[in-house]
């Protein structure tokens, strides 16, 4: 009979664990097709609050599509996507997003700092911006190394510089979940490391979901990896640890997943 309290305490521990790291996004049996062409098939994915989830997969595998379904940019027709966050009135309010394509509207008359503050304000003002918003925007631009460009037109920046600005924009709205679609694909090595370190720091409090083809991102930052090619396969990085030789640079994602025992 001595096992009673033990079971109880284990159960208690489990509960605590769950309270510590509750599920924030729960996707069940999600499928998606465009014009009868099946793009995603029966996706099941549970993301915990403190996850740093890296999504990998071939071009056209459906990574961006999955993110846009989560964001509600595409309507989900079959399956469910639930977002659980205690005080979220509108579930999208808690999500920050960096799109894959940052080359939209390059002729548009808008300054970098306005892009960062776009769509979110700490309080309502006429025409101008509140001081705390300007301060935060400047701080974020500094964190992504773009403070010098705050008052330039967005279209005058390079591709990598624009990606940095979009990352600052995603952070501006105080998101609880940050979804980034290949956010550093045109950013130089030094800048990438800086940005991922920043994301890791943020990950102490918020959930990070990032699409990346970069192996070092997976090895250094991910707590979970999902491989998407129409279907989803999944790996928890906690059992993987850093026993892996990072110097061997030419290993591709698929090999990695083979090693993880997820693909035959």
């Amino acid at each position: 009979m001595g096992s009673g309290p033990k079971i109880l305490s284990q159960w208690h521990k489990l509960l605590q664990n769950n309270n510590d790291n509750p599920t924030i996004i729960d996707i069940k049996h999600l499928s998606y097709a465009i014009k009868k062409e099946e793009i995603l098939k029966d996706i099941n994915l549970e993301v915990k609050q403190k996850d740093f989830l890296v999504i990998i997969g071939p071009n056209g595998g459906g990574k961006s599509t999955l993110l846009k379904l989560i964001l509600g940019i595409y309507p989900s027709k079959s399956g469910t996507i639930s977002i659980h966050y205690a005080d979220a009135t509108n579930k999208l309010d808690i999500i920050g997003y960096v799109p894959q394509n940052t080359n939209i509207n390059l002729n548009f008359p808008i300054k970098v700092i306005e892009v960062v503050m776009m769509g979110f304000a700490s309080k309502k003002t006429f025409f101008g911006y509140a001081k705390e918003d300007l301060d935060l925007a400047n701080k974020l631009l500094e964190q992504v190394g773009m403070q010098k460009y705050a008052h330039q037109k967005i279209g005058s920046l390079s591709g990598g510089q624009r990606q940095r600005v979009m990352i600052a924009r995603a952070l501006f709205a105080h998101p609880k979940i940050l979804i980034l679609d290949e956010p550093t694909s045109s950013i130089d090595v030094e800048g990438q490391a800086k940005i991922y370190d920043l994301l890791q720091e943020l990950n102490k409090e918020i959930t990070i979901i990032v699409v990346s083809h970069d192996l070092s991102v997976i090895l250094n930052y991910a707590t979970k990896v999902a491989h998407i090619n129409k279907k989803l396969s999944f790996h928890d990085m906690s059992s993987f640890e850093s026993s892996f030789d990072t110097q061997k640079e030419h290993i591709c994602e698929v090999e990695l997943l083979e090693m993880l025992g997820k693909i035959k």
Binding site: N90, D93, K111, M118
Partner: protein, 266 residues
């Protein structure tokens, strides 16, 4: 020249010219930034149906054109939201069908032959007080909408996908932009004519684009540049007894040419 200012119709023309120039500068900036020039061109032509309707039924001209232009704008907003890839086809459709309806209705109106020229080039010297009130009201409405929702409109215009994620009602603001554009087109047609509408909505903005890095400065500079064109055009028209709308167009086009040459050199 100075004694001309004592005539009431000249005063009205000047006030109308300035109001319409600023309206065009502000709304034109939005139209160009949203890449809707062709769409608004369609709405402007469709508004001719409203002129036919007004003559045929005897309702005031402003009411008829506003009705047609706003309906065309709502229809285009619906199409753009629902069937984005088909917008071009429907712009062509409202463009032609609106004009055809207008022409048939004018044909059917007994005894009255509308002056197509005044529709194309406007009749700024025939502006009356009622027209001025309508323009002033529209100007105030536009300023009001911008004062309250400038940032939302900016977000929707620059990146509607991200704006939606931030909880901004993209469809609503897109429709508001189109309705304001339609009403602006209506006042501009009355004053400076259909052809000049398109010119006024684009030429000053094209110049301002090079000088400004924010939307609101572009609105202001475009309005100022448009006012300059209108005043110089009106002065030429009065001095040499030429059609006012055509004078304003030529002043604007020549200025654009010089601006581009100056741009090339510097």
């Amino acid at each position: 020249m100075i004694e001309a200012l004592s005539y009431e119709f000249i005063q009205n023309a000047l006030i109308a010219g300035i109001l319409v120039s600023f309206i065009s500068g502000i709304i034109g900036s939005l139209i160009v930034a949203n890449r809707m020039v062709f769409l608004v061109g369609g709405v402007a032509h469709a508004a001719y149906g409203g002129i036919g309707l007004a003559l045929f039924t005897g309702i005031p001209l402003f009411l008829g054109t506003s009705l047609f232009a706003v309906l065309a704008a709502l229809f285009m907003a619906y199409i753009t939201i629902k069937e984005r890839d088909k917008t071009d086809i429907f712009i062509g459709l409202i463009w032609a069908v609106g004009m055809a309806i207008g022409i048939i209705l004018v044909d059917l109106t007994p005894g009255y032959n509308v002056d197509l020229m005044s529709y194309l080039f406007g009749s700024i010297l025939a502006v009356d007080h009622e027209d001025l009130y309508f323009m002033a009201a529209l100007f105030v409405l536009i300023l009001f909408v911008l004062a309250f929702w400038y940032k939302d409109i900016l977000a929707v215009s620059y990146d509607s996908e991200y704006a939606a994620i931030r909880g901004i009602n993209v469809k609503l603001f897109f429709t508001i932009i189109l309705i304001l554009s339609a009403l602006s087109v209506v006042v501009a047609i009355k004053v400076v004519g259909l052809i000049l509408v398109i010119a006024l909505l684009t030429i000053p903005i094209y110049i301002a684009q090079y000088l400004c890095s924010t939307l609101y400065s572009m609105m202001f500079v475009s309005g100022f540049v448009a006012t300059l064109f209108t005043l110089v055009g009106l002065w030429l028209s009065y001095t040499y007894d030429l059609t006012s709308g055509a004078c304003i167009i030529l002043v604007a086009a020549l200025s654009l040419l010089f601006f581009m040459l100056w741009q090339k050199r510097s």
